[in-house]
Symmetry: none
DNA sequence: ATTGTTTACCCACAATTACCCACAATATAT
DNA sequence: ATATATTGTGGGTAATTGTGGGTAAACAAT
C-alpha cells in the first residue's frame, strides 16, 4: 500500500486557482512521512520550476548549510541564495498549498501545472516550460543521456 | 512448486474493461514476493508497451537515481523522464490493476492485451503493436539476433 | 481606529476512484 | 463424473479527490 516514505513518482496535471493554490497529489500527501507534519518547503528549482521538499529533507539541507564557515564570502552567498526563496507551507483540508507570486513568476506558471515526483523531491512545472527544457537537454547532451541509460538498468 | 520469486515467464491474453482495469495472471500474482505487498510499479516501456515491475525491483532503480547529482541538468532530465510516468498500483480482490489513460494511450492499448513475462519484469502489449515491433526487430537486426542465440545456450 | 489586502479556514459539488458483490468459465479435487 | 474451488470479467455503491468559492481572522498602511 505505501511506497517508501517521502518518495515521489509520477506526473499529475492540476490547475492553479486565482488565489495561487495548487493541489498536491493525494498519492504524494500519503507518502509524506508523518514527522513532516503535513508541511513541505518550496523554493526555486535549478530549472525554471518550483522545488518542493518534505520538511525533514529540507532540514538536512539546512544543517549542512550551518556547517559552512561564514568567513568565506562565497559560502555566505551560497547560503543566501539557497535559503532566500525557501518557505515552508502546510496543505489545507483539501490538500492544496499556496504558492507565492514570486515563485509563480519564476516558474512562469499560469493556469495549468504539472506536478512531477522526482524521487526525493517534487517539481511544479508550467507545461510549456517543461517541454522546452526537456527538449533542450535531450538534443544538446544526448550522448550523456545515453550513458546514464546504460548505467541505470531498467 | 514455485519458480524463483519475482520471476515471470509466459504469455497471457486478457481484456481491458471500460474502467481501464486488466487482470494480472494468477501465476504472476503468486510469484510476486510477499515483501512487494501486492504492489507493482507500472511505467512506459522502451517499446510501445507498459512495463510492470515488482515494487522492490523498482525501488532499486529509485535508489540508483537518488545517487545522481542534481547539479547536472542532464541528470535531472534523466531522472524526470524515468520517473515521470511511473506509478505504483495494488491489485484488487479480483487480481486486477488500474491503468491510467496516459499509459493506455502510449501503448496504444484498446480492448485486448497480451501480458508477457520478461523474467524480472512484465510487459503489457497491444497485440498488433507487439507483432509490428517484433517483426521490425527481426528483419532489421537478424544477424545480431542470431549472435544472441549462439550465446544463450538453449 | 478605519480602511484595504492578504491569508487561513470552511463548505459545496462534480468527477473519479476504491471497494464490494455477482457470475460464468475454467481448473482442481474427491 | 460430480462437486468444489479458483480465475477472469462485469457492474454498483460509497468514499475520496480536485476545484471553486465564501467568510472571518490577521496584517498593513493610512
Amino acid at each position: 500500500m505505501t511506497i517508501n516514505q517521502d518518495t515521489f513518482t509520477g506526473e499529475f496535471s492540476y490547475t492553479i486557482d486565482i488565489k495561487g493554490r495548487v493541489n498536491i497529489p493525494a498519492k504524494f500527501r500519503q507518502s509524506l512521512a508523518p514527522e513532516n507534519d503535513q508541511t513541505f518547503v518550496i523554493t526555486r528549482g535549478m530549472d525554471p520550476c518550483i522545488w518542493v521538499y518534505p520538511l525533514t529533507a529540507w532540514q538536512i539541507i539546512e544543517d549542512d548549510l550551518k556547517d559552512l564557515s561564514a568567513i568565506s564570502g562565497i559560502n555566505r552567498s551560497f547560503i543566501r541564495n539557497t535559503v532566500r526563496y525557501a518557505s515552508s507551507v502546510t496543505f489545507d483540508k483539501q490538500g492544496r498549498i499556496m504558492l507565492s507570486s514570486n515563485l509563480l513568476n519564476y516558474a512562469k506558471l499560469k493556469k495549468n501545472a504539472f506536478i512531477i515526483g522526482m524521487v526525493n523531491k517534487i517539481e511544479i512545472w508550467d507545461p510549456s516550460e517543461l517541454a522546452k527544457v526537456d527538449k533542450q537537454n535531450l538534443t544538446m547532451d544526448s550522448s550523456e543521456y545515453d550513458a546514464l541509460a546504460e548505467k541505470i538498468i531498467l
